[in-house]
């Protein structure tokens, strides 16, 4: 069967202008309206391989990325994020429309998708085994996640561990992953096949470059994965590699304290977390070298496959 061709940049702009650009991102359907060509070009570089869905699809979120209005918008070009008529943030500098869109959509999901347990975690998968990398900002989670993706792990998400209560599976949400500028040189060396977006200076989260989701991740975005490991990574300059098993209770506490909606999900969230912990091995991983960290994770996988 022939795959439908992705839209040309002209077609994409046409769809987005009229609010008819509809696409899937993991379990969610999004309708995107925008007239900002520079934003749409970046969007297309990140997600261009996705098949646009019919304009009359019923969506979870209706998003608009527009020019900022008002006096401030006249003095300085600004970009504004709206979701279902609500504006969660102040306008961003015009050139930062893409990171604004990415954080905006994350905000929508974190605020509303309480029918899932939303863990704050990167998720990758290989050979049918999913690995959760929950961590606080600054732990090197995104860099490690990107390095794993560079070694052939499938990117499910850099930010959301979406756990479905019904079957305990993790749902992919392959999106552009914001990386600190410093890790780009490193990643270009250890994972040359990855594709990165433009650099955005001085955003709320520092200088940021996005890792674009590989085409394979996007193609398989409706394919859930079975959780196998939870690893809490921590990068520390000069640290020796140490992969230490973590007690389930410790993992439980770290996981729920760092989740987006554990409290909101009540009993369902508790049950799903317990099931998750019964089905995974958990570790903490301290390292001073991301390649060694990847090697140690690959070794875990090989043990498991043996």
């Amino acid at each position: 069967m022939k795959e439908p061709a992705p839209p040309s940049s002209g077609e994409l702009r046409q769809l987005a202008r009229s609010g008819d650009l509809v696409f899937r991102t993991g379990p969610f359907l999004v309708r995107l309206q925008s007239r900002l060509d520079s934003f749409l070009d970046t969007w297309q570089r990140a997600y261009g391989s996705l098949e646009p869905l019919p304009a009359d699809t019923v969506c979870h979120y209706r998003i608009a990325v527009t020019r900022g209005r008002g006096v401030a918008g006249l003095l300085r070009r600004q970009a504004l994020f709206r979701a279902d008529g609500m504006t969660p943030f102040d306008p961003y500098p015009f050139s930062h429309a893409f990171p604004m869109y990415e954080w905006g959509l994350n905000w929508c999901i974190a605020m509303s998708a309480h029918n899932y347990l939303l863990l704050h975690s990167a998720v990758v998968e290989k050979a049918g085994r999913a690995l959760l990398l929950p961590a606080r900002p600054g732990s090197g989670k995104s860099t490690l996640c990107a390095a794993l993706v560079g070694r052939g792990w499938r990117l499910l998400s850099d930010e959301f561990g979406i756990l479905r209560h019904e079957d305990g599976l993790l749902l992919p949400l392959p999106r552009a992953a914001p990386l600190k500028n410093e890790s780009i040189d490193l990643l270009a060396r250890v994972a040359p096949a990855l594709t990165f977006g433009p650099r955005y200076d001085r955003t709320r989260k520092g200088d940021v470059v996005h890792l674009f989701p590989p085409a394979d991740s996007l193609r398989r975005q409706e394919e859930p994965a079975r959780p196998r490991w939870i690893i809490f990574p921590r990068y520390r300059q000069g640290a020796r590699l140490e992969l230490t098993p973590e007690a389930p209770l410790v993992t439980f506490n770290r996981l729920i304290n760092n989740a987006f909606n554990y409290r909101v999900t009540g009993e369902a969230g508790f049950t799903s977390t317990c099931r998750l912990l019964r089905n995974v091995d958990s570790f903490r991983l301290e390292h001073g070298n991301v390649e060694e960290a990847v090697d140690s994770i690959e070794a875990l996988l090989e043990d498991d496959l043996r």
Partner: protein
């Protein structure tokens, strides 16, 4: 007609919606905080073939509301010793009252704060008890804000608690002291009914309806408009003591406001209320400006954007016009403007 209005008026009509209308329905309901309400209406009407994205969006909202309701009940439980301590009735208002009393209107409805009403004489004791229990006023309050609340408002400044999800608003009247529509709250306490299983009271049915009416027409927050209107619609459709409501509206000086509200409901949701004689003589009069503005401002996508904004602004001005005498309003606006710089 907006799909949201169609479905609020008659949930069965969801079955005939095209996908594009379903899409607008979910977006508009989310924006007006009616997604939870919508979910229960569709469930009760047995609507089949709900598109997956719509069903999942509503499931997410229901999970959130379940959590919010549990949290609110727990916080109400922590206030259970308040009525005894101050020796006066504590009347729960709006969302907290609907929830505690298990009224149908609580289903699928969120709440941002816990509103209570106590007699003005009990206000100092109430404030003292709450402060001892760890509630405090927002630290950002200026001396002028404090003066504003103490002299003119119908409530204490909003209170917060380090362990509480909600803001606590302690009222001593339903309408601002300086408002042209202000009325003596004493009869509200006389008619208040105990909420079984709790030490709290709620307003009697007709006062509860009139509270929403007063809030709709004197509030300066248009975003809550449609949700409040829908609350009122749900209450009026199951309320059958029209005579009592009329008398009460007359006694409290809210007849015109009630008339305006019903007129908005009839124009938005259609004729089911029109046929009932809630306010005599209503059907002879032509629709007036205020209900028209309210209807325009409340419905997302119902009117061109600039008309909706205009309606919101006019209502905001009207709310302020009602809120205090003209000279006080001028002073207040000047203070508020200069405080920004």
């Amino acid at each position: 007609m907006s799909p949201l209005l169609q479905v609020l008026a008659d949930p069965k009509r969801a079955e005939a919606l095209e996908p594009r209308a379903w899409d607008a329905l979910i977006g508009d309901a989310r924006r007006t905080r009616l997604l939870g309400r919508l979910s229960f209406l569709l469930e009760d009407a047995g609507v089949k073939n709900i598109p997956a994205a719509a069903a999942e969006s509503m499931a997410g909202t229901r999970a959130y509301l379940d959590h919010l309701h549990v949290t609110a009940r727990r916080e109400l439980a922590s206030l259970e010793r308040l009525p005894g301590a101050i020796g006066a009735p504590v009347v729960l208002l709006k969302g907290a009252a609907y929830l505690a009393a298990g009224l149908p209107v609580a289903r699928g409805r969120g709440l941002n704060d816990i509103d209570i009403l106590v007699p003005e004489a009990a206000l100092p004791a109430c404030e003292g008890w709450l402060k001892a229990a760890g509630w405090h006023f927002d630290g950002q309050l200026s001396a002028y804000d404090e003066h504003y609340y103490r002299t003119w408002a119908h409530e204490l400044p909003p209170m917060r608690h380090p362990e509480s999800h909600f803001e606590l608003d302690v009222h001593h009247a339903l309408v601002q002291r300086t408002n042209r529509l202000a009325f003596d709250p004493a009869p509200l306490f006389d008619a208040a009914v105990p909420i079984p299983g709790t030490p709290f009271h709620r307003l009697c049915d007709e006062d509860m309806i009139l509270h929403v009416v007063a809030h709709l027409l004197v509030s300066d927050e248009p975003r809550g408009g449609l949700r409040d209107l829908d609350d009122l619609y749900r209450m009026l459709t199951i309320f059958d003591a029209e005579e009592r409501l009329r008398e009460r509206a007359t006694a409290l000086g809210l007849v015109l406001q009630l008339k305006h509200s019903i007129s908005v409901l009839v124009s938005l949701f259609g004729g089911t209320l029109d046929a009932r004689d809630i306010v005599p003589g209503m059907r002879q009069t032509s629709p007036s400006l205020v209900p028209t503005l309210l209807a325009w401002s409340a419905v997302p996508g119902g009117r061109p954007h600039h008309l909706q904004r205009l309606a919101e602004r006019l209502l905001f001005l009207r709310a302020h016009w009602l809120r205090m005498p003209f000279d006080t309003l001028i002073c207040h606006s000047a203070r508020k403007l200069t405080a920004q710089y």
